[in-house]
C-alpha cells in the first residue's frame, strides 16, 4: 500500500491473557490467546487476518473494538491511544470503528425489528427526529440490497444472507472509517457468500472504507484483502501484500496453510504430504518458535529462541529464523 495513505489503526505489542479454568491446579495458568501482535491499517485498505482455531484472530478483533481489554500493548486510532480509554471516552471513537459479526442468527436481537436494529447506532449518537431516522434507515437498507418494505420484519423472517446484510447496514449507520469483520461469511452458503463479499467490496470502493477482515478461508481472504497477516498461536508469523504472500510465502506455516487448501481443480490434485500434528493449545505453547513442533525445517535454534518479525522483502515481514531479513 502506498505510504501516502493515512494510518487509521495501529496496533503494537498487543497481548491478551485469560486465566485458564481447568480446575484446582489452574492457579497462574493462562491462556495466551493473543501474545504480541502488531500491525497497521491504512485508509481504504483491507487487512486480512487468517489463522486456524485458537490462533487469536477473533480475540484480536475484540481487543481492537474494546469489547475486551488488552493485558498489554497499545492500540492507536488516528494517532490517539485508545486501549486505556474509559467507556465514555471510547464513545466518540466507536462512531468510526464498527463491526460485523460472524453469526447471522445470534448477532441480531431476535426481539427487535430490523429497522430498530439498524437504527440503534443512530439513536445512540444522534438526536434525530423520528422521520429522519426512518429515512436514513431506509437508505441503509437499500444500500445493502434489501427492500425498504422489509424494515418492520423480525430477524427470523430473513434468511442468513439477508441477516448478514442487516448487520452490515447497522455497521454502516454511523459512517465509520473502519469495520472489523469477524468471519462475516463463514456461516453462509457459497452462493450467498459471493453476494456478501461483493457487497463489502462495493461498499469499500464507494465509501473509502477500511476493513480488518478476520477469516479462516484463505481463498476469501485473498479475494478481498490488500494485505494479509497470518496468525499462529497468538502471534503474527507473516504479514505481506496479497500478491507476495500468495505467490511467495516465506513462513513454513503460511506455506503449509496454502498447500492444505483444497483447490477446485481436479487436474491439480495434491501430491505433497499434509502438515502433520495438531494445533497446540494456547495454554502451554511450545518454547522458542511456536511452530517448531510441526515445522518440516525445524533446527535447534528454533526450539530455543523466538524469532522476531523481520522484513525479508519490501513490505513482507516474516517471523522465522530461516529467512534472511533485507539488509
Amino acid at each position: 500500500m502506498s505510504a501516502a495513505r493515512e494510518v487509521l489503526l495501529k496496533v503494537d505489542g498487543l497481548r491478551k491473557h485469560f486465566p485458564a479454568k481447568t480446575g484446582l491446579l489452574s492457579r497462574g495458568v493462562k491462556v495466551l490467546a493473543v501474545d504480541g501482535v502488531s500491525f497497521s491499517i491504512h485508509e481504504g485498505e483491507t487487512l486480512g487476518l487468517v489463522g486456524e482455531s485458537g490462533c487469536g484472530k477473533s480475540t484480536t478483533g475484540k481487543l481492537i473494538l474494546r469489547l475486551l481489554d488488552p493485558t498489554e500493548g497499545q492500540v492507536e486510532w488516528r494517532g490517539r491511544r485508545i486501549e486505556q480509554l474509559t467507556r465514555a471516552e471510547m464513545r466518540p471513537v466507536r462512531r468510526e470503528l464498527q463491526a460485523v459479526f460472524q453469526d447471522p442468527y445470534a448477532s441480531l436481537n431476535p426481539r427487535m425489528r430490523a429497522a430498530d436494529i439498524v437504527a440503534e447506532p443512530l439513536r445512540n449518537y444522534e438526536s434525530l427526529g423520528a422521520g429522519e431516522v426512518r429515512t436514513r434507515t431506509a437508505n441503509l437498507f437499500e444500500r445493502v440490497g434489501l427492500r425498504a418494505d422489509q424494515l418492520l420484519k423480525y430477524p427470523y423472517e430473513f434468511s442468513g444472507g439477508q441477516r448478514q446484510r442487516i448487520g452490515i447496514a447497522r455497521a454502516l449507520a454511523l459512517r465509520p472509517s473502519l469495520i472489523v469483520c469477524d468471519e462475516p461469511v463463514s456461516a453462509l452458503d457459497v452462493s450467498v457468500q459471493a453476494q456478501v463479499i461483493n457487497l463489502l467490496m462495493d461498499l469499500q470502493a464507494e465509501l473509502n472504507l477500511s476493513y480488518l477482515f478476520i477469516a479462516h478461508d484463505l481463498a476469501v481472504v485473498e479475494h478481498i484483502s490488500h494485505r494479509v497477516a497470518v496468525m499462529y498461536l497468538g502471534k503474527i508469523v507473516e504479514i505481506a501484500p496479497k500478491q507476495t504472500i500468495f505467490t511467495q510465502p516465506q513462513h513454513p506455516y503460511t506455506v503449509a496453510l496454502l498447500e492444505a487448501v483444497p483447490v477446485p481443480d481436479p487436474t491439480r490434485r495434491k501430491q505433497r504430504r499434509a502438515l502433520g500434528g495438531d494445533v497446540p493449545s494456547p495454554i502451554d505453547p511450545p518454547s522458542g518458535c511456536r511452530f517448531h513442533t510441526r515445522c518440516p525445517h525445524v533446527e535447534q535454534r528454533c526450539r530455543r529462541e523466538e524469532p522476531p518479525l523481520q522484513e525479508v522483502s519490501p513490505g513482507q515481514w516474516v517471523a522465522c529464523h530461516l529467512r534472511q531479513p533485507v539488509a
Binding site: Q98, A106, R111, Y154, R170
Partner: protein, 281 residues
C-alpha cells in the same frame, strides 16, 4: 408478529390443555370479581340453628359449624386465594428481576447477594413463610409478603442465569460496539429476553403461592380466622372431617382445580419457549 407471541400462539394450538387451563382460570377470576352477586348470602353471617347442614337446595355446599353458608364462603374465598397467588407472583417476579439484573452485571454485588439467596433457599419455602408469619400478626398483606420473600431467591437465580447467558450473546456485543450505554443494553437487549421465561415462572409461583397460603391458613399461621380463604375454611373444618367432609371437599376442590388450571397454562407457555420447539421452526 413478534417471534415470542407467535410461539405462544403456536404452542397453544398444540396444547388444548393450556387453553382449558386459561378458560378455567378466567372463570375463577370472574367468580372472584362477581362474588357479591354470585354468593347467596353474607359469608360472615352466623346462623347457629343452621349448623352443619348437608348440602341442599338452600345451601348448595351446606353450612359450617357456625351456620355460615359454605358456598358463599368458598365463592368469597376465591378472592383471597387469587389475590395472594397473583400478588405473590407479580411481586416476586418484579423483585427477583431487579435483583437478578443487578447481580448478573455487577460482580461484587453478585457474590454477596447470591450467598444470601442460597441461604434463604436452603430453608424450605413453607417453613420460611411460617417463620416470617410468626414474626408479625396475621393478615392477608403479611401472608403475601411472607410467601413472596420465600419465592424471591428462586426467581433471582433464574434471572441471573438468564442474564449471564444473554450477556455473551453476539447481539449484546454488537450493541456495545455500536455505542449503546449499559442501562439501555439492560433495557433493550437483556430485559425483553427475560420476560418470557419469567412469565412462565410466574404461573408456577402463582400456583405454589395459593397452596402455600392454604397450608399457612390450615395450620393457623396464615390469614386471620374470620377471613374466608380456602385454607381457612378447611382449617376450621379439621375436627369435623368425619361428620361433615363436604366442608373440606368444596374448598379443596376449588383450590385444586384452580392450581391445576394455572399449572396447565404454565405448561403450555413453557412449551412455547422450549428450545426444542425453536429448532423445529
Amino acid at each position: 408478529m413478534s417471534p415470542t407471541w407467535q410461539r405462544f400462539r403456536d404452542a397453544f394450538r398444540r396444547h388444548p390443555t393450556a387453553i382449558a387451563g386459561a378458560v378455567v382460570l378466567v372463570a375463577m377470576v370472574l367468580i372472584a370479581l362477581f362474588a357479591p352477586w354470585l354468593a347467596t348470602s353474607d359469608p360472615q353471617a352466623l346462623s347457629p340453628i343452621q349448623r352443619l347442614k348437608q348440602p341442599s337446595n338452600g345451601h348448595w355446599f351446606g353450612t359450617d359449624m357456625l351456620g355460615r353458608d359454605v358456598y358463599s364462603r368458598v365463592i368469597f374465598g376465591s378472592r383471597i386465594s387469587l389475590t395472594v397467588g397473583a400478588a405473590v407472583a407479580a411481586l416476586s417476579i418484579t423483585l427477583g428481576l431487579v435483583i437478578g439484573l443487578v447481580t448478573g452485571f455487577v460482580r461484587w454485588v453478585d457474590a454477596t447477594v447470591m450467598r444470601v439467596m442460597d441461604g434463604l433457599m436452603s430453608i424450605p419455602s413453607v417453613l420460611l413463610a411460617i417463620a416470617l408469619m410468626a414474626l408479625t400478626k396475621a393478615s392477608v398483606g403479611n401472608v403475601i409478603v411472607a410467601i413472596t420473600l420465600a419465592e424471591v431467591p428462586r426467581v433471582v437465580r433464574l434471572v441471573r442465569s438468564l442474564v449471564l447467558s444473554l450477556r455473551e450473546q453476539p447481539y449484546v456485543e454488537a450493541a456495545i460496539a455500536t455505542g449503546t450505554r449499559l442501562p439501555l443494553i439492560l433495557l433493550r437487549h437483556i430485559l425483553p429476553n427475560t420476560l418470557a421465561p419469567l412469565l412462565v415462572q410466574g404461573t408456577y409461583i402463582c400456583a405454589s403461592a395459593m397452596i402455600t397460603e392454604a397450608i399457612l391458613s390450615f395450620i393457623g399461621a396464615g390469614t386471620p380466622p374470620n377471613v374466608p380463604s380456602w385454607g381457612n375454611i378447611m382449617a376450621e373444618a379439621r375436627s369435623m372431617f368425619q361428620l361433615a367432609s363436604y366442608l373440606i371437599f368444596f374448598p379443596g376442590a376449588f383450590l385444586s382445580v384452580t392450581v391445576l388450571a394455572v399449572n396447565m397454562l404454565g405448561d403450555g407457555m413453557r412449551d412455547a419457549l422450549d428450545p426444542r420447539l425453536a429448532r423445529r421452526m
